[in-house]
């Protein structure tokens, strides 16, 4: 089922939670909503579910406007951010509830509930009441309840946030597989970017209720439309350095007291001549910042001070500074610098340029 949000706005009192949002989710695709806390993701889901009524705009399922369709007729599965398990029912009854409502026969229900709960590793908890479960267990029950009825549209609001990393990876992979197999149109809210990247067909980035970018994960990563998207996507976030452009000797340079970087050929093409004096923001992702301990010949490598080292599992996040500029970089555990050491820096990957005021990506054609 295709879902189309057509200029949706939702206002609570004075708060505009969702602002003129237009979004098309193609049939059978999985779309992730990404955005800072409080940007309107849950509100959007609840509107699609029919629980909130949009203040303005239309919601289409397939070819029908469903604004007036009650939730029960929308054939959706929804995992609430707060789970909303029925406290008076056991886990089994919670999961079986949607099926019971469809008057499926008992054996069938039993089978389905068993299956889904094994799948979510809560098979042994079926007799408990929600209050007797741990947070993660409750969350899985909520997911099971949403999945068990094979909905046309699946809405998941942070369905895995309370699971441990390992289970989470397993679950998301399984969820994705299942979604693909059954072709359920799915909208998924998550704060975990690797989760978003892994499962999404397309990602919608929202800020303050306004859609910022809606594109495939790759594109989002490689061609962020604006500064917000660029810094929001990717963890640790992209380094942003203030400075200006200047043309010198037919080459385009980014300049700032601490950094001087020759922009690649293709950028020159995109950027128009007159931009050269403009104030811009220069972006480079931490993983594209390489450090080396010996002075390399490269023009752009300059000596930086190692400020802080944070452990991040298999890698280290190193913060470098130089006068007024800070840079973060990711370093393998094999080559650990020590704090206070001086290192050289090289930008090896892609770099980005943004308008200082509008935040627009200067390399994006509009």
């Amino acid at each position: 089922m295709r879902v189309l949000l057509d200029n949706i706005t939702k206002i609570f009192g004075k708060v505009v939670a969702v602002n003129d949002l237009t979004l098309e989710v193609e049939d059978g695709k999985l779309v992730v909503l990404l955005g800072p806390s409080g940007c309107g993701k849950s509100t959007t889901l609840l509107m699609i579910a029919g629980i909130y009524r949009p203040t303005e705009g239309k919601i289409w399922f397939g070819d029908n406007v469903v604004n007036d369709l009650p939730p029960k007729d929308r054939k959706i599965g929804l995992v609430f951010q707060s789970y909303a398990l029925y406290p008076h029912m056991t886990v089994f009854e919670n999961i079986a509830f949607p099926l019971r409502l469809k008057r499926e026969n008992k054996k069938e229900i039993d089978k389905k509930v068993k299956k889904i709960s094994e799948f979510l590793e809560i098979g042994e908890l079926l007799d408990r009441k929600p209050i007797q479960l741990s947070g993660g267990q409750q969350q899985r029950v909520a997911v099971a309840r949403a999945l068990v009825k094979s909905p046309d549209i699946l809405l998941l609001d942070e369905p895995l946030s309370n699971l441990d990393a390992k289970l989470r990876v397993v679950m998301r992979t399984e969820l994705k597989k299942m979604q693909m197999r059954l072709g359920i149109t799915t909208i998924f809210v998550t704060h975990d970017q690797s989760e978003a990247m892994t499962v999404a067909d397309k990602i919608a980035v929202i800020k303050n209720g306004v859609l910022q970018q809606y594109s495939s994960p790759d594109e989002l990563y490689d061609i962020p439309k604006n500064l917000f998207v660029a810094t929001f996507v990717g963890s640790p976030p992209m380094n942003i350095i203030e400075g200006s452009l200047s043309f010198k000797d037919g080459n385009l340079f980014f300049l700032n007291p601490d950094v001087r970087f020759e922009l690649p050929e293709d950028m020159k093409v995109v950027l128009k001549q007159e931009r050269n004096t403009e104030e811009v923001l220069f972006g480079v992702r931490p993983e594209d910042v390489n450090i080396s301990y010996e002075r390399s010949g490269s023009q752009d490598s300059t000596s930086w001070l190692v400020d802080m080292i944070e452990m991040m599992g298999r890698e280290l996040l190193v913060t470098l500074s130089r006068e007024k500029t800070m840079l973060k970089t990711i370093v393998d555990r094999e080559h650990v610098p020590s704090i206070g050491e001086k290192v050289n820096v090289e930008f090896t990957g892609k770099v980005f340029l943004f308008d200082k005021y509008s935040g627009k990506n200067l390399l994006c054609e509009e």
């Binding site: 029919g50 629980i51 939730p71 029960k72 929804l78 609430f80 707060s82 909303a84 509830f97 409502l101």
Partner: protein, 296 residues
């Protein structure tokens, strides 16, 4: 968490003291009273079981018993049923708080009215002449002869009068209970595909099960004990057709001033009430309910 006895007593103390002094002790006294032949002289003369023997050997007793059952059952259905219906309609279905308020207020009116005035109103409603409200309404529908409600349907009259006044208790309690159900659960059920009816049946009713059980038992006991409206409306007549047990006891105690006898009669009623309560506990699972929150 562990609880100290002192803090239990702190919370429960006032309650226990009051109930003990003004409820429990009178109950004991009443039980004792039922074994005396106390009359207008107010003397405690013990007579053993004579009071009980006396009424158990009378045929009227059994008629009254039957009347009581019929009356309680009918009124209860009316009472609790309407109460629940109203609570649902004013909380769940009605989106306009003012409409809800209006209906709730209307149904509360009987309870706000002084007893006598309320009875006068019902006398007017059921007045056998054409000026009675119901007869007026009937005549609007082209029925010419007026019905003598009080003699043709005496039971109906008292059931209605008691039902209308009793419904508000359940209504207010149920509305409050429904209001305190978190909206998440209702939303969630809607998403799960539940229609209004299903939500009522599977979410609302189970979540206010305690209140329902409580009101059910409470109202039954109240009805078993209620006589005032009947006293004023029909005084048990015609021909004891509306003489319920408590009225019977009242007549004995306060009309003929046979207090001992009256106490014995009420004691019998109490026993019926207690038996009923135990049965309901069985049905509703009293212990389970009491212990349902123990898990954490």
């Amino acid at each position: 968490m562990e609880v100290k006895t002192s803090s239990v007593m702190g919370f429960l103390g006032p309650f226990l003291i009051l109930v003990l002094a003004f409820y429990f002790i009178p109950v004991i006294l009443t039980v004792i009273l039922s074994f005396t032949s106390m009359d207008y002289k107010l003397s405690w003369d013990f007579t053993g079981f004579t009071n009980f023997e006396h009424f158990l050997t009378q045929s009227l007793t059994y008629k009254v018993l039957l009347t009581t059952f019929v009356y309680v059952a009918l009124t209860l259905i009316f009472n609790v049923g309407i109460a629940f219906l109203l609570a649902l309609m004013t909380t769940y279905f009605t989106t306009h708080e003012n409409t809800a308020m209006f209906f709730r207020a209307i149904w509360l009116l009987p309870r706000l009215t002084p007893v006598v005035v309320y009875c006068l109103l019902w006398m007017w409603i059921f007045e056998p002449t054409q000026y009675g409200l119901f007869n007026t309404i009937l005549s609007l529908f082209g029925k010419s002869s007026s019905i003598d409600w009080f003699s043709s349907y005496p039971m109906g009259v008292i059931v209605f009068a008691n039902g209308f006044i009793g419904a508000s208790f359940g209504m207010v309690t149920f509305s409050s209970a429904i209001k305190s159900i978190s909206r998440d659960y209702i939303w969630s059920a809607q998403v799960d595909g539940a229609g209004d009816w299903q939500i009522i049946k599977r979410i609302i009713i189970p979540m206010i099960k305690w209140e329902i059980m409580y009101i059910f038992i409470w109202q039954t006991l109240s009805l078993l004990n209620s006589y005032v409206y009947i006293l004023i409306l029909t005084d048990g007549g015609p021909l004891h057709e509306t003489e319920v047990w408590s009225l019977y006891a009242y007549h004995k105690a306060f009309k003929y001033m046979e207090f001992g006898n009256g106490a014995a009669l009420s004691l019998f009623l109490v026993i019926i009430g207690i038996i009923f309560t135990f049965i309901s506990w069985k049905i509703f699972g009293f212990r389970k309910m009491m212990g349902q929150e123990v898990s954490r």
